[in-house]
Point group: D3
Amino acid sequence: MFHKAEMMDALADYESARYVIFGVPFDGTSSYRSGSRWAPDAMRKASENFETYNAYFDIDYEDLLIHDAGNLEHYVNVDETLEELSFAVEPIVADGKLPIMLGGEHSLTLPCVKACARHADEDIGFVVLDAHFDLREEYCGVKYNHACVSRHVLNEVTDKYVTIGVRSGPREEWAFAKENGIKYYTPDDVRETGTKEILSEISDYLGCSKIYLSLDMDALDPAYAPGLGTPEPFGLSDIEVRDIIHALAPRSVGFDIVEISPEYDNGQSALLGTKLLREFIAAHAASER
Amino acid sequence: MFHKAEMMDALADYESARYVIFGVPFDGTSSYRSGSRWAPDAMRKASENFETYNAYFDIDYEDLLIHDAGNLEHYVNVDETLEELSFAVEPIVADGKLPIMLGGEHSLTLPCVKACARHADEDIGFVVLDAHFDLREEYCGVKYNHACVSRHVLNEVTDKYVTIGVRSGPREEWAFAKENGIKYYTPDDVRETGTKEILSEISDYLGCSKIYLSLDMDALDPAYAPGLGTPEPFGLSDIEVRDIIHALAPRSVGFDIVEISPEYDNGQSALLGTKLLREFIAAHAASER
Amino acid sequence: MFHKAEMMDALADYESARYVIFGVPFDGTSSYRSGSRWAPDAMRKASENFETYNAYFDIDYEDLLIHDAGNLEHYVNVDETLEELSFAVEPIVADGKLPIMLGGEHSLTLPCVKACARHADEDIGFVVLDAHFDLREEYCGVKYNHACVSRHVLNEVTDKYVTIGVRSGPREEWAFAKENGIKYYTPDDVRETGTKEILSEISDYLGCSKIYLSLDMDALDPAYAPGLGTPEPFGLSDIEVRDIIHALAPRSVGFDIVEISPEYDNGQSALLGTKLLREFIAAHAASER
Amino acid sequence: MFHKAEMMDALADYESARYVIFGVPFDGTSSYRSGSRWAPDAMRKASENFETYNAYFDIDYEDLLIHDAGNLEHYVNVDETLEELSFAVEPIVADGKLPIMLGGEHSLTLPCVKACARHADEDIGFVVLDAHFDLREEYCGVKYNHACVSRHVLNEVTDKYVTIGVRSGPREEWAFAKENGIKYYTPDDVRETGTKEILSEISDYLGCSKIYLSLDMDALDPAYAPGLGTPEPFGLSDIEVRDIIHALAPRSVGFDIVEISPEYDNGQSALLGTKLLREFIAAHAASER
Amino acid sequence: MFHKAEMMDALADYESARYVIFGVPFDGTSSYRSGSRWAPDAMRKASENFETYNAYFDIDYEDLLIHDAGNLEHYVNVDETLEELSFAVEPIVADGKLPIMLGGEHSLTLPCVKACARHADEDIGFVVLDAHFDLREEYCGVKYNHACVSRHVLNEVTDKYVTIGVRSGPREEWAFAKENGIKYYTPDDVRETGTKEILSEISDYLGCSKIYLSLDMDALDPAYAPGLGTPEPFGLSDIEVRDIIHALAPRSVGFDIVEISPEYDNGQSALLGTKLLREFIAAHAASER
Amino acid sequence: MFHKAEMMDALADYESARYVIFGVPFDGTSSYRSGSRWAPDAMRKASENFETYNAYFDIDYEDLLIHDAGNLEHYVNVDETLEELSFAVEPIVADGKLPIMLGGEHSLTLPCVKACARHADEDIGFVVLDAHFDLREEYCGVKYNHACVSRHVLNEVTDKYVTIGVRSGPREEWAFAKENGIKYYTPDDVRETGTKEILSEISDYLGCSKIYLSLDMDALDPAYAPGLGTPEPFGLSDIEVRDIIHALAPRSVGFDIVEISPEYDNGQSALLGTKLLREFIAAHAASER
Ligand SMILES: [Mn+2]
Ligand SMILES: [Mn+2]
Ligand SMILES: [Mn+2]
Ligand SMILES: [Mn+2]
Ligand SMILES: [Mn+2]
Ligand SMILES: [Mn+2]
Ligand SMILES: [Mn+2]
Ligand SMILES: [Mn+2]
Ligand SMILES: [Mn+2]
Ligand SMILES: [Mn+2]
Ligand SMILES: [Mn+2]
Ligand SMILES: [Mn+2]
């Protein structure tokens, strides 16, 4: 009769859950516009807009085992927050569940990737959709800045790394990417080569059966997602991102959506992010049928 | 010297009019975000932005016989509102004019379709652009809910029915659509098959010379129309919808644009809706030259 | 480690709770601007802004037994919604808890008053803060319209009725109020007579030890609460409303805050409403010490 | 059945009208924020929020003879706009009706005052509520700038001039005001002396039975009216302005409300302006009973 | 340690500068929505969002000689403003620098084109991206209206004129364009023919080595740039405009971006405009390497 | 001819300046809503709204020696930012100028107070207007959190401390305040005792001729300043704050305005903050005449 403000269709309790969604309302290192702290709750609100059924995969979300764990207590300091997040995500992965983190900023991805890598029976890859390389060693005096997450994944977790949608970074990052043979696709690459071909290339390149998938919403063009921390024109379309998620979800052992700043639009970015979250879950669940 | 806040270029009085525009500021059954009650006046304001001339059809709207009848008195209850609307639209159609209804919500379409069907000399078809099937028998305890309009048209008016842009609905609606051989095109279908080919298919399928055309603005992708009651990602582009309207307007005996919620953007959806309204009128008028 | 999006400091489970807060996201009969459906969740978000301690009453909310039950499932139709609400609030009162309803629109007050009246060991009074009389028998064809709630309380529950802040109504309501000797105070009355004197008059007038207290936020001046369904200038100040709540909370057996439309400001009205909710609880709890 | 987007309760046709309301959507000389072009239609929308009855004066607006003439065609250039306005307002006054102009910017007041002065059988006074002196001879290279309106009224119409709420101006304006013995009241004066006493002083000072009353909404504190072209803190309260209007309306032969910029709030300023418009009409009509 | 609110990476002083950016916060002839007065500062704020490096051209903006001169003092009257602008831009061009004007409205382009034409050693062409022809002789009683800029360039500067993105204008403008053999491309032309082919046609058509390039942001579809004075659906995509700028920048002797109204979105249009400004500079600088 | 986006009337260069204004766009420890990073530039924009003349003090700001130094480069980490700020403010005070800091968050006050104290020839007092005590030793794991600034001033600078407008804090802060005999005035105290009487008490209590004055804008009621990080109802009025600043400015050796979050209103809070800044300067300058 009464219901809580949870992600719609997240009807499972923790124990029975296959998918555990949780929010981390932390945006402490945001450099341009902050406010991704409000994204997890905005996405829960957005989820009320959608039907429970996904026709493409013929899946009803109510039939899946989805749990919404709520939001993580957050700190002012990024290091403490990452540590707290690390403690929180570890048991979720250990319990054999697929963690879905709703940021908050991109720095939050690192502990989630690490937890997934630790519990995988083989090396996992890391595929990130992002307008930015996030390859800095540190930024504005902070190592675990949102602008450095990919570098830390490379350094600390895996070098099976692909980034899609990238179109912004200092000269050093582009040089680093080239010198280290990092696999990246700009939105122009995606438009010219086609999603299908790129996905096939990525599959060959990674050579692993399991990945962690991270969606920095600024990978999308601001026409589709104007409410972002660092919006970057000339981005991916909603369809391109959807098709990439459809293809990669089946092999994903963890997923996140980060960098939505809901105060900068009228729900558009949270709605699209939530829809993409649902596409991820349906695509993954379909692969386990 | 003074002018009223009417739709621009609606210079005709009722008697001489070929096109009668009217608003119905009713959104009483809206399920996610309400506010389409403000759409008719927002569209009148938006109309001040546009030139009187349509170059594609070489038509000046000031040369057409367009009347803006104002807004319908509305009720809290949907049943009474539909009845009132039925009384209002009936004489417009009886007088041989083409009614153009500006919602308000999609439930308002039904009395308009019925009036047009009653006065047609043959069976009319119903073509709707919508993200949603709207095929429920009832929703949230209300039969004439905005989420049921297509079902009622099917039940009460015509089975010459096509829906374009559909991408959302419960399992039951997709099953109903398949079981009943309902003709529908998702935005992916439109992208892959092309507007032209689809329009030719629709023409063959309907096999009738007259249709009622209903534009639920959520058929469009939220990038083009963010101010909606139930925005649904992965939608049609502005160009696709324009081309469909261009093709279908000539055979239309009634038209409506519904589900714009102008409080959720900065005029974008009302501007596009108003532009599409003008494209409809020009396309129709060109066919009568 | 994780926490849900509940009202802050609502740490008790239902069984142990003294105060049970719940939202009813229903605004189906709203006549001017809708959107109070978003108020309960907006107030939960606003609650994160406040300290757990109330210095005036020397009370820490974390020490009180407050439960947040979540939001009521809602219908499109007001009658069904009121029935559902009636079922929901009944056991709360029966269990000896003080119900605190967060609207949603003012019509939702009636089932709450009725439940409280049914379980009181004596006749209860009804004190409402409102810009409007809400004394119509019906409005826009709907009996249980938000604009009629006071009339139905008078007809169906109690004639120990006082309204504070009233400044708007049709001639019939003012006539009805005068003919029936209804006790009302305009904001001008409050400013001229003073809150203290008026509260003493009310106490004498009611002659009962228990009341239900209802706060229609439009009692406040729009300077303090711009995000409302039907904002009415020349209203009460925040301090006047706070002082009235401080005085009346101790004898209240039920409470509600209604008619906040959070889409029409940047959090101001939800923040003030939430603060007044907290003042109510502290004042009531202090009286039970 | 259908109704136009006019000021609510403006039910009279022009011929029978006692009060003729019209908008002038012109803001071409606005210096800080523009947008008062949208105010007339915003006030019509706001008028839907209010009851038809004014209890203070026991008057139902539907019983009065109010006509809404619509909006004046506007030009880019202020001089042409003022000329057009002059042509438009002249016959209204000549026909013995009370003109009520909704700006647009303050420069629009001048032709209205002139028309009223021309048709008065005695010298009229000019009382203006404004945060600014508007006593410049010209501003930014434009004589009939919004920042000069009072000077032109003084020069071209009447020296029976009082300004209330003034708190901003260059040194020259304050010096001019003092040297020329101009009667002005700052908001501090109003707070300290009291509305009643000031109104009595003004009455003595003017020594005339008829005035034109002009309300620049920035006379009010931005807490009450945030949506303004040039908001100025430390202003008048809503109650002070209401009481001044109540007192001066009976002797007014013309009235205007200017400088609302509705894009800069969520309806607050248009709602208050519309309410004050209604208070003016009720107070004036009560005096003619 | 302290830095001023200038365009990011505009590190050069005037003397050493190759590119001189300046704003003209003037929108006095805007016909639908005003507010482009706020665009120059909004673009400076937006510039903080972007990296200093452009990977496509392998250029770091910090290595270029860019100067931000600030904003021009503005007048109410367009004629005086254009005169002031003429005085301001003349020495910039005379000093051999490339002027980049940030409007403000489109009328401001004329003095900039004239200054560039005066100092060119050959006839220059004029290429404008715009939804509108801007070919009127005068508009709303004002010759140098924003809606007339192209006509005045044609009349007073050069007939080597091309407009891209045009889709709106009165019958007279379309007729004028056809009768005078004006080269124009609608967005449909661009989509059907392709950017590359069109650019090659333009190059042949103009037959000159130097052009002035003007970007009226309403050339873009409102999905990409919703914050505009006169938004027009069915426009160019961000990629199309970027590619056109890339191609034309090398031969440009002057550039402007006009008609952004930042109050009508959440930074989207200013961000895209600023990005396109940066693409222009990089493309031009790359051609001078 | 061109002018930079500086605080209006800040015409002096650094060397000649008596008042040095600078912004610190840092909000890294904000706990509820962030965004005070945008306040310094928002206040510069707001300053364009105001006349150069202050009639109350008969002072023209253009005659004063005011310098706007721009914004401090900021870090992600509060400790580094405070250190950077310390380096920046030190020479300003050493050079005998009065520093005026525009936050950013309240933690930024500490280095400014310290610099002023270091260079004063006697012990200085600290008077802060704030809704919050800010007396925590640390908050959310961060010592120099915005919620701790008063405690650090007490610990590290001076115990001549008074806070006005305080109405929120955990039990520990109220206890600490009482146990340590801290002088505080709630808004209720101010209303009941009167500004004049309180200011006289403060003067006696402090017993020093020089103070640092800090204005946390949340001291004001949200009706006057809705755009805040942590808005707290029941606050001070604009007039109360103005009168306190008038009285304390003459003895102030440093001043700041912090915690405005301009994204949460339409300019209201930045406009009022800027006005109060100007009142401070005029009151101080008048005392030096
Ligand atoms: Mn990232
Ligand atoms: Mn990114
Ligand atoms: Mn529909
Ligand atoms: Mn739909
Ligand atoms: Mn009510
Ligand atoms: Mn009410
Ligand atoms: Mn004025
Ligand atoms: Mn003014
Ligand atoms: Mn143009
Ligand atoms: Mn244009
Ligand atoms: Mn503070
Ligand atoms: Mn504070």
